[in-house]
């Protein structure tokens, strides 16, 4: 009894998607639900095997209302870090994108070369900059002192006031090529004729920038900003390698706090609670992003 070809083809197409889908459900879908359950219980290394009792929102309430709340501080730190990084990496990336959109021989090759910075594993980037920012023999201090901008070496990552800036400088370096490449791709799709007719009308550089370039690549700008937000907001490696949240929580962000709760203090439920807070914030930004791409292109 052979099934007709059409009939066989009907379920066969699901076979293509099934393996990937099952994998994702098992190793992402289930863990997300598990994480929610964990945050509603009280699971630590002590109660590892049989912590079935639900404690409701107790973990959330505790973390949010703690005096000198580390969670609130981490949320503020994460937002501060993300906002400052975004402003600088976007504006510098945009400037570079405009420059590299000029037509010259090695433009696209040299622009692509910057991508190496983006591809270097964050662990190594963190270490490179940790070395360059160090007070003894660190290159950045040597340059600042040679230029007479500072009198003595700045203890970038050791001082609570500057530690976050040290990490921010590092991440701006990582973020520039990402912004540059995505924006440049947008810029090169603008037809030259638009600029030519603007030239005839006597438009200057700024007018062309704000009246042609920006509006025409608006979708790319919005994507770069929301994606940049999402990538920057979930920072872990850089902070972990460069300061590990210190000195005295000055650089603690949500990811490092979640890690510390779970794998240093072995309070799995607290860790799950913190990562859920991180997830909820990213979820809303993600919704915004989905609405964006649905408006701009017919992906769905």
């Amino acid at each position: 009894m052979k099934k007709s070809r059409a009939e066989a083809g009907d379920w066969a197409k699901y076979l293509f998607v099934l393996p990937a889908l099952l994998f994702m459900l098992a190793f992402i879908g289930y863990p997300i639900i598990y994480n929610i359950i964990l945050s509603l219980r009280d699971v630590s290394v002590m109660t590892f095997q049989n912590a079935k009792e639900l404690v409701g929102l107790r973990n959330y309430v505790q973390l949010f209302t703690e005096s000198n709340g580390i969670l609130n501080l981490s949320i503020l730190n994460t937002f501060f870090y993300t906002a400052v990084c975004l402003i600088f990496q976007f504006s510098i990336g945009f400037a570079f994108a405009i420059f590299f959109a000029l037509r010259f021989r090695y433009a696209s090759f040299l622009r692509g070369l910057a991508m190496i910075a983006w591809m270097v594993p964050m662990t190594i980037t963190g270490l490179m900059f940790k070395y360059m920012l160090s007070p003894s023999g660190g290159l950045i201090n040597e340059i600042l002192m040679a230029l007479h901008l500072v009198k003595e070496p700045v203890e970038w990552l050791i001082n609570g006031k500057t530690a976050m800036w040290g990490i921010i400088i590092t991440n701006i370096w990582v973020g520039i090529p990402f912004n540059m490449i995505l924006l440049a791709t947008g810029i090169t799709t603008i037809p030259e004729s638009v600029y030519e007719s603007a030239n005839i009308d006597g438009a200057n550089f700024l007018q062309k920038f704000f009246c042609i370039t920006v509006p025409m690549i608006r979708p790319a700008i919005m994507s770069v900003l929301t994606l940049g937000f999402i990538y920057t907001f979930k920072v872990f490696d850089l902070v972990f390698i460069m300061t590990n949240g210190g000195p005295v929580n000055a650089t603690e962000v949500l990811s490092t706090l979640a890690y510390r709760m779970s794998f240093v203090e072995f309070n799995f439920s607290k860790g799950a609670t913190v990562s859920n807070v991180l997830f909820i914030i990213l979820f809303f930004v993600g919704l915004f992003y989905l609405r964006l791409i649905r408006q701009n292109e017919e992906v769905m």
Binding site: F205, K234, S262, L290
Partner: protein
Amino acid sequence: MKSPAWRLSDQHREWLLNGIAIAICAVFLFPIYWLIVTSLKTEAEIFRTPPTLFPTAVQFKNYIVESSGGFSIYRSFFNSMLISLSTMVISMALSTPAAYGMARYNMSFKKTMLLLFLVTQMMPPTLILTPLFIIFKQARVLNTYLAPIIADCTIAIPFSVLTLRTYFLSIPKELEESARIDGCNKFVAFMRIMIPVSYPGVIVSAAFSFLFAWGNLIYPLTYLTNQAMRPLTAGIYNFIIAEYGISWNRVMAFGVLTVLPVIVIFISLQKYLVGGLTTGTVKG
């Protein structure tokens, strides 16, 4: 965007713009140069002020790491390769057919599935860290290579599915339809026609899958407590905190070994990577 009021001959303009571009790249990529140079310096030269731009005496001693506490730089390199290549193979085996299916066929819940892949791309790796730890512990895969491989695949698969789907969509349907008429079934047509035709997409997804796993720190750090099994990213971290004071030249030698495959991949795939990054992230 060209405008200069001052007129330059075309050749001078070329020289000037290329010159500026090279200068920007040189300053921008300087940290990588510094990484390499430091790895070749002696302990004494590292703390010399002002710092030397070129090592006065090049030495490769930092690359020969005496394995203190059962820890070897080359074992780490091997571990990284093993984890990254396995992640790449599993991710490609699962995501290529999925991307094809979602590009070519109408099916129920297709929108939901696409949404699922898009959303997972935005998730922080810390989110599934704790639950996977408990699941892995109960399934006794903690402290096996499988643990970081599975976790890394959760990053690589959604990226690959979305990138490849865009590639498959751009290939005319008629190509496989003619193969189907010649008697190939769906799967044979997919393997023989679609994969070879869309190789730039396949290569880019494979390269990124490899790189995601290669650069990941948090999963191997958490799931592999056995030092000897740790890849470079987790191993190097371990190495910094274990030593009394950081010996930067040795750390940087470690860093060079970690960056090496990245540069090799960049050089061999440069023309595909930029396109892959844009399709994978912006177009979804």
